[in-house]
């Protein structure tokens, strides 16, 4: 029987803690058909702009639309790759430089499916989810992040 999947929350308030990532990895120890996990982490960079150096990024999203889009992406990736598990977490609110703002986690029996799916997920998340990052430089200066 196919497992019926429903939209999941992907949003986390503030930075994603390394301990959360460890917990997520540990949760998969009971799934003994998994041979490989692929993880991508986005970390906030201290980019240097004309106005100064980025201190943090403040993320906002059109949440309902993002969750619906994320669900469609999940379904498409599950249909394309033989995955055991897939997890997506994205920060909302302020994430300081050096902290983690995106955590994508795929698992499969053989490594290639997990790696291919993870890479495609990251690209689609950045391109298709209605999320915006505002780079905070200081009290007076900020700039809307541009994805390349």
């Amino acid at each position: 029987m196919e497992k019926q999947r429903t939209p999941k929350n992907i949003f986390v308030s503030g930075a994603i803690a390394p301990e959360k990532i460890a917990q997520s990895i540990a949760n998969h120890a009971s799934k003994t058909d998994i041979g490989g996990h692929s993880i991508f982490l986005g970390q906030v960079r201290a980019d240097v702009k004309e106005e100064g150096t980025v201190q943090a990024i403040n993320y906002t999203a059109y949440e309902e639309m993002a969750l619906q889009q994320a669900f469609e992406i999940r379904e498409a990736i599950f249909a394309k790759y033989p995955l055991t598990c897939m997890h997506i977490y994205h920060s909302l609110g302020e994430v300081k430089v050096g902290e983690i703002c995106l955590f994508v986690f795929t698992s499969s029996k053989h490594r290639k499916a997990a790696m291919g799916a993870c890479e495609e997920l990251v690209e689609r998340i950045k391109k298709e989810l209605p999320i915006w990052g505002k780079e905070i430089i200081d009290n007076e200066n900020s700039a809307w992040k541009i994805n390349t």
């Binding site: 906002t60 639309m65 703002c101 990251v122 998340i125 999320i131 915006w132 990052g133 505002k134 994805n147």
Partner: protein, 75 residues
């Protein structure tokens, strides 16, 4: 009709939600927005109707949620 604004567009408009009269299609809506908020003319943005992206000029049904979306920059 309710219009949601996000990111830089919310900053330009000065609020995250607008109540406006109904517009028959997205082209006419854009014309109204450009007139009211001239800074929007310098920006690229998309329009979503009930959380679905639109492209080109599409008609706007009654009782929908319109959203103005600057280029995405998650991750």
């Amino acid at each position: 009709m309710k219009i949601l604004a996000f990111g830089k567009i919310a900053e330009i408009i000065g609020q995250e939600e607008l109540q406006v009269d109904n517009f028959p299609n997205t082209e006419i809506l854009k014309g109204y927005l450009y007139q009211q908020f001239p800074d929007l003319q310098k920006m690229k943005f998309s329009i979503a109707i009930d959380k679905k992206l639109t492209s080109g000029d599409v008609s706007i049904p009654m009782d929908v949620e319109i959203a103005l979306l600057p280029p995405f920059s998650g991750g």
